[in-house]
């Protein structure tokens, strides 16, 4: 029996009067890769941003229902604790432009005012960059600015930045949509590596990507969670008609 790390019950989210996530119930198992897919505007990104409380940063955004991390309601914790434990990687790579590659990796410590001994910092930087397969590429240019890297490298740097905080869950919001195919495949390979230590939730509009990288897939349509199952079952034998239509490309 695998243990559940994220659990939503009757979860709703809206922007003002616009109800974008409707009554979502989901159990996400630890150390798995979960793909969240669906046509654009289906609420998948909003749902993802609710998991680490980024949703509420947008003026007029509200949410209700239960969202648990290890059986603790996220919405009864302070957002800072939530975000320390649930990291996030965004659609476009967003390294801090004023910081070096090194400082970008330990940004979560440095900018939070957490002082670490130099050896510990070096260890975290090397460890995190190794995990995202970037260490060999940048180890000689750690003092250069993060914006000096290519798009794919920047995105891996952002993943390293999130990994350095040792979160329990990593959220990815369409992490490869701004990348070229080669960088995309490098990032996708990472997901398999990272699964051993973290739970990964990946929003994607790319069905092939969902099929390639995930253990389980959730299909959102018009704000509802239509279907949630093992990825293999989803793509071979979906139970819902709408899922069937989506994966066979009958609507987009």
């Amino acid at each position: 029996m695998e243990s559940t790390i994220i659990k939503s019950r009757n979860f709703n989210a809206s922007f003002g009067a616009n109800h974008v996530v409707k009554n979502v119930n989901i159990d996400i198992p630890r150390n798995h890769v979960i793909a969240v897919m669906g046509p654009s505007g289906c609420g998948k990104t909003t749902y993802l941003r609710c998991i680490n409380r980024m949703h509420e940063l947008i003026p007029g955004a509200t949410c209700s229902g239960e969202m648990n991390l290890n059986d603790e309601n996220i919405y009864e914790m302070h957002p800072i604790f939530v975000r320390l434990k649930i990291g996030m990687v965004f659609q476009r790579p967003n390294p801090f432009p004023n910081l070096s590659i090194y400082d970008n990796v330990i940004a979560g410590y440095k900018l939070n005012g957490i002082k670490l001994p130099k050896a510990e910092r070096d260890r975290i930087v090397e460890h995190s960059l190794t995990r995202v397969a970037l260490w060999n590429e940048v180890k000689d240019s750690l003092t250069k600015k993060g914006s000096f890297l290519s798009g794919g490298q920047q995105q891996r740097l952002c993943i390293a930045r999130a990994v350095a905080m040792e979160p329990e869950v990593l959220l990815f919001d369409e992490p490869t949509s701004a990348l070229d195919p080669i960088s995309t495949s490098t990032v996708e390979e990472l997901f398999h590596e990272l699964k051993a230590n973290y739970t990964l939730i990946i929003v994607t509009h790319n069905m092939q990507q969902a099929a390639r990288v995930s253990d389980k897939t959730a299909f959102f349509y018009l704000g509802e969670l239509v279907e949630y199952d093992e990825t293999k079952i989803m793509f071979t034998n979906p139970k819902d008609n709408r899922t069937q239509n989506y994966i066979t490309g009958r609507f987009s």
Partner: protein, 329 residues
């Protein structure tokens, strides 16, 4: 942005210590340290959010305070003199006669004359930089130099005006047969005209550079010359923006104090011509504020300040409104 501070407060007993998936003692110690630190962070965060809100309130209070101070300090004069103060033609503090008309007239004359002189120049700069030559080192130099005009302190304009411009104007006056005093409305208008060029020019430039090129291309496509495009497409399209720039210039001219005080001649009688010495609202305040020995005298000066404040606020607000509407289209 999330500025609500109520939600998400955690008490210390509920602390989730299992921050890291590891049982290594150092990792747990690190986690505890991080959580403790976060508590301090949350308190600072709340203080910071409140500080920001206080800053917003402070700005509103500051402006209300400026307005109310002017009103309260003007009350003795408003009570004693009533509204006819504004069109009273005589200002004679010794006899306790206070009429603001000479200063209103002096301000309007000098500002509008300055505006008329400066408009062709500022529009030329705007068209030159916005349409003819938007890029290159020479236009860049012109742009920076015009901006420097606004940076020169007004007391230096005044001093230069007094030492160089006033003798020239005096010479000119003796040639055209008016009393050659040199100082006066005309001299201050000339100085003001130079000083206000950058305001209309820089706004006009950005407005003209925002004209959509398909619009211009449509006119070129019909065989229009460059000048015809400027006159019949660009200027009509940007006229509200250019007008706003002129308004901002006017706001500057009305409130300008030092340069005007130094060359206008400081005479509190109604100017007979544009070459006559006079006084503006700002210059009479600058000259007489510290000498005002009677309560009504001082209060009458402050009432001038109140009028100046209201007029410039209205002009600036109209200008800003026009700019906002223009840039949002």
């Amino acid at each position: 942005m999330d500025t609500s501070v109520e939600n998400g407060m955690v008490t210390r007993s509920e602390l989730p210590l299992r921050v890291i998936n590891s049982n290594a003692p150092e990792a747990i110690a690190k986690a505890k340290g991080r959580v403790r630190r976060s508590f301090r962070q949350i308190r600072t965060e709340n203080v910071f959010k409140r500080t920001l809100i206080i800053m917003g309130i402070l700005m509103v209070i500051l402006v209300l305070g400026v307005f109310l101070t002017l009103v309260v300090q003007s009350l003795p004069s408003i009570k004693a003199l009533g509204p006819k103060y504004l069109w009273g033609r005589v200002w004679d503090p010794v006899q306790d006669v206070y009429g603001a008309w000479p200063f209103l007239l002096g301000t309007l004359l000098s500002s509008f004359l300055a505006l008329i002189i400066s408009i062709p120049f500022s529009i030329a700069v705007a068209v030159f930089l916005g349409e003819y030559y938007p890029k290159g080192w020479l236009p860049n130099l012109l742009k920076n130099t015009v901006e420097l005009i606004a940076a020169v302190p007004s007391v230096i304009y005044g001093f230069w005006g007094l030492a160089v411009l006033v003798p020239i104007v005096r010479n000119l006056e003796s040639h055209i047969g008016v009393e050659p005093v040199g100082v006066g409305i005309f001299s201050s208008s000339l100085i003001l005209a130079v000083m206000i060029i950058p305001y209309a020019a820089s706004l006009g430039r950005s407005m003209i550079s925002m004209v959509p090129s398909p619009l211009k291309e449509a006119a070129y496509g019909l065989g229009a010359t460059r000048w015809e495009v400027i006159r019949s497409v660009i200027l009509p399209y940007t006229k509200s923006g250019l007008f706003a720039g002129v308004l901002l210039s006017l706001g500057r001219a009305l409130g300008e104090t030092m340069a005007v005080t130094m060359v206008i001649g400081n005479t509190s009688i109604i100017p007979k011509s544009i070459f006559a010495p006079g006084n503006t609202m700002a210059s009479v305040i600058a000259n007489e504020f510290t000498e005002a020995d009677k309560a009504v005298y001082l209060s009458a000066l402050i009432e001038l300040g109140l009028v100046l404040f209201l007029v410039t606020v209205v002009i600036n607000m109209i200008g800003k409104r026009i700019i906002d509407r223009f840039t949002n289209e």
